[in-house]
Symmetry: C2
Subunit: 189 residues, 2 copies
């Protein structure tokens, strides 16, 4: 079996495992075993479990790296920093790859589960400690943030609904950041 | 050609025309011509242009009928009424059909254009006169409403992000209606 074939077998096994069990409950060991290879080989080809998951999603960026500066923003500007970062990423060279990932993920049976794992475990998880006030409110806050963010991606980039689709980043931030700031840090009913 | 075959030809021609030219610019006459049938036959099989478009989307409900009571709500409760109606529809017997439509529409090349036409021309268009204050603000307001609503459907029904996915309707309304009310009627930057 060629290296490319082995790599593909690992990716296929990983995609199935992440979709079936979610990010947290999936181990690199179980992926290696399902692919019939040694665990060390999985690490050599793909790095950490997080990197393996990103590889199955075929995404061009690591959310941890993208979100690091956001987490350094003052708490009252958290939503603004978060949203500006996302919008600039969607408008960047990464756009076609992101849109291709959205299309692939929504048209395969495993797609929704993989997207959910990505959104909750890889992207928004970095925000969790920052938005858990009062304690225990983070899951609701992050689900609401996910809903507005996913919808903005769909409206601006997938459906192309005007005037949102052609609006400058700063105007979208002015319109939508207050929503995200409320979801992240303000008192909720 | 059997009646079922004729019906299917009309639907195929309509789907292509709506996707290519949008809802407004597509005429029943052009659909009939593309399908090689008489215009009267299209009306006999499908009713109005609006009903023909709904048929191409394979949706179980007519947004005009669903949204009529919403438009009767007091202006300060518009978002609440709108959101409650949507959430109850998504939780109703129509749920599997709505989800199947979402999946079909996101996995076909014509899908995004058809979804955009549905959202803007058939569903949200009913709200346009109510939310155009100041005059000219309706397109921005409706695009924002579309973004939060689409994202809520994705988070609650497609991805199943908890706690949003299992949350009672009234709690979702309490959390998200303020966002939609701001988008619909409050001053925007």
């Amino acid at each position: 079996m060629s290296a490319a074939q082995t790599r593909q077998r690992i990716l296929d096994a990983a995609r199935q495992a992440f979709a079936r069990s979610g990010f947290e409950a999936t181990s690199v060991r179980s992926v290696a075993s399902a692919a019939g290879v040694d665990q060390a080989l999985v690490h050599r080809y793909f790095g950490t479990k997080r990197e393996l998951f990103l590889a199955t999603l075929e995404l061009p960026v690591d959310p941890a790296r993208v979100l690091a500066p956001v987490l350094a923003a003052p708490r009252q500007h958290l939503a603004e920093a978060f949203l500006r970062t996302l919008l600039e990423l969607w408008d960047s060279d990464a756009e076609p790859v992101i849109l291709a990932a959205v299309r692939t993920l929504t048209s395969t049976p495993d797609g929704p589960s993989l997207v959910k794992g990505f959104v909750l475990d890889l992207a928004l998880s970095h925000l969790r400690p920052v938005v858990d006030d009062p304690v225990g409110s983070a899951p609701t806050r992050l689900a609401l943030v996910a809903s507005q963010t996913a919808g903005l991606l769909v409206a601006r980039k997938v459906l192309g609904i005007e005037p949102l689709a052609s609006m400058p980043v700063e105007q979208v931030v002015a319109l939508v950041a207050p929503t995200l700031q409320r979801y992240m840090t303000e008192p909720l009913p």
